[in-house]
Subunit: 292 residues, 2 copies
């Protein structure tokens, strides 16, 4: 969980509620009951905790540690696909060792947000009830902890990764080759997130091409990837079906929620979004991709 | 029409038959009878003309001029989406003024391949029978002949343009905004080609998101955009239906043919491709995009 300073060509926010765990939890909470495990500092506004609780998110795994909350400061320019990190202050995050509360350990669907792969594995080991686990990652860990990351990918059922990171990880520009490379590391599903170009879902011998919603106004894409992953996992948890057909549908819900996320700063859009809005966008997706 | 020297990480060819008119004609010839208007030099191998004729392409509009054929020399590196031009020799192309043969002037479907927009307009003025015309363009004309190009876009029914060029032309990174900007110039359809990310079809109040085929082996993408446009126009000519629904289907045929084009050097793949192969890929597209 983080406090974000974000500047885009359309404005800026300071100290906004952010972080992979936050975005993923809020997205998943459209579909299922969610428990969040994270660390914040003493400066973390209690209103954010109240907001999450109002959404039915169990914040029993949010640890208040001595020090300041993790802060990310980022800038988007003309190309809104590309976040430029201005500053990262790890603060309480630097000593984070996730402790999964006893009451969360039976959770069947576990999403490991982007963080050090060793921490992801430490968390997964505690999640004894996990039937379907997934991880997200970023370039930093691919460059710095490749071996640990590859091992972690072998321990989960699904990997979320963006296109540039997939190319980097597998040292090929071809996304099909990259996806197959990640599949060989062990997961049953690889989801390559391509921002404005949608997503690709790979499984054994199968591929699904998911569209992105053609947005005229992308205001702030922060959290879109995490919202995507959270919504996918939320849909899987709601339906309890991890077959390829249902995974496709999950990816479409991910794409729908992610598209809404990008329409406003931080979590602003998701805060007021309804399931009717989500279903509307799923219907629009059907129209957008239909051909006779 | 051109003779291309192409180098990619997978090999190279020298003096291969190329050029927008060639790729588009060959692609269109899967669907309809085609007449090609172009210029070549005295060095142009007659076997290429025989090849086009064997495909039922009328080469009566190919002018043999004094001098050498237009030559393009290009290189693809790691990122196969991006062609690096090593050398362009205009040769006979520098004095090209298209003359549409009398017997072509009744053609109802006219594709103006990428060339100086003034030449495109000169050709269109001669195509008296045109019921549906389209043009393709490139960054060079956007930078150097913007006003003429915008005017030309107002004269045609459909504009083919790639994503980077659409952003450049409309001075916005947002593709929906760019497409709407081009729509305001006059055409009924705008097709934004996104290479490995597929294509977007815009028409009045409507949008279609077309997938690209997830290729594991992209050997040489030269001509993919021209094949795409040629196949779209070929399908429209075959069916005689320029409604939005049929335009979607045309775009899918464009995407299918373009995907095959990229699987081999130059025209090699299209040379042996059958309609069964094309229909196979259309079927695969349905599976690739299906969600319940």
């Amino acid at each position: 969980m983080a406090l974000d300073d974000i500047r885009t060509p359309f404005g800026e926010v300071k100290g906004a509620l952010g972080g992979a765990a936050t975005y993923a939890s809020v997205a998943a909470s459209f579909f299922t009951s969610v428990g969040i495990v994270a660390v914040v500092g003493e400066d973390f506004p209690r209103e954010h905790i109240r907001f999450l609780r109002r959404r039915g998110i169990d914040t029993g795994g949010v640890k208040f540690a001595k020090g300041k909350t993790f802060r990310w400061s980022g800038l988007y320019e003309y190309d809104m696909n590309q976040a430029h990190t201005l500053k990262t202050e790890l603060n309480v995050f630097s000593k984070f060792s996730p402790e999964i509360p006893e009451e969360f350990r039976g959770a069947e669907f576990v999403l490991l947000g982007n963080i050090d792969p060793e921490i992801q594995m430490a968390a997964l080991r505690q999640a004894k009830g996990a039937k379907f686990s997934a991880l997200d990652t970023m370039d930093f860990w691919i460059a710095g902890k490749r071996k640990k990351l590859v091992k972690a990918m072998g321990e989960v059922d699904a990997v979320f990764i963006n296109d540039a990171e997939a190319r980097q990880l597998c040292r090929t520009h071809n996304l099909v080759k990259a996806a197959k490379g990640i599949m060989r590391m062990g997961p049953d599903f690889v989801v390559i997130k391509k921002g404005e170009h949608g997503a690709l879902l790979f499984s054994d011998g199968d591929c699904f091409v998911a569209p992105a919603f053609p947005l005229e106004d992308v205001i702030d894409p922060t959290g879109a990837g995490d919202s995507f992953a959270g919504a996918v996992m939320g849909w899987l948890a709601k339906t309890g079906d991890t077959g390829e057909r249902n995974m496709r549908k999950a990816v479409m819900y991910g794409s729908a929620i992610a598209s809404y996320d990008a329409e406003h700063f931080g979590l602003n859009k998701l805060k007021t979004l309804t399931m009717k809005d989500v279903e509307d966008r799923i219907r629009r997706f059907r129209e957008l991709t239909k051909f006779e």
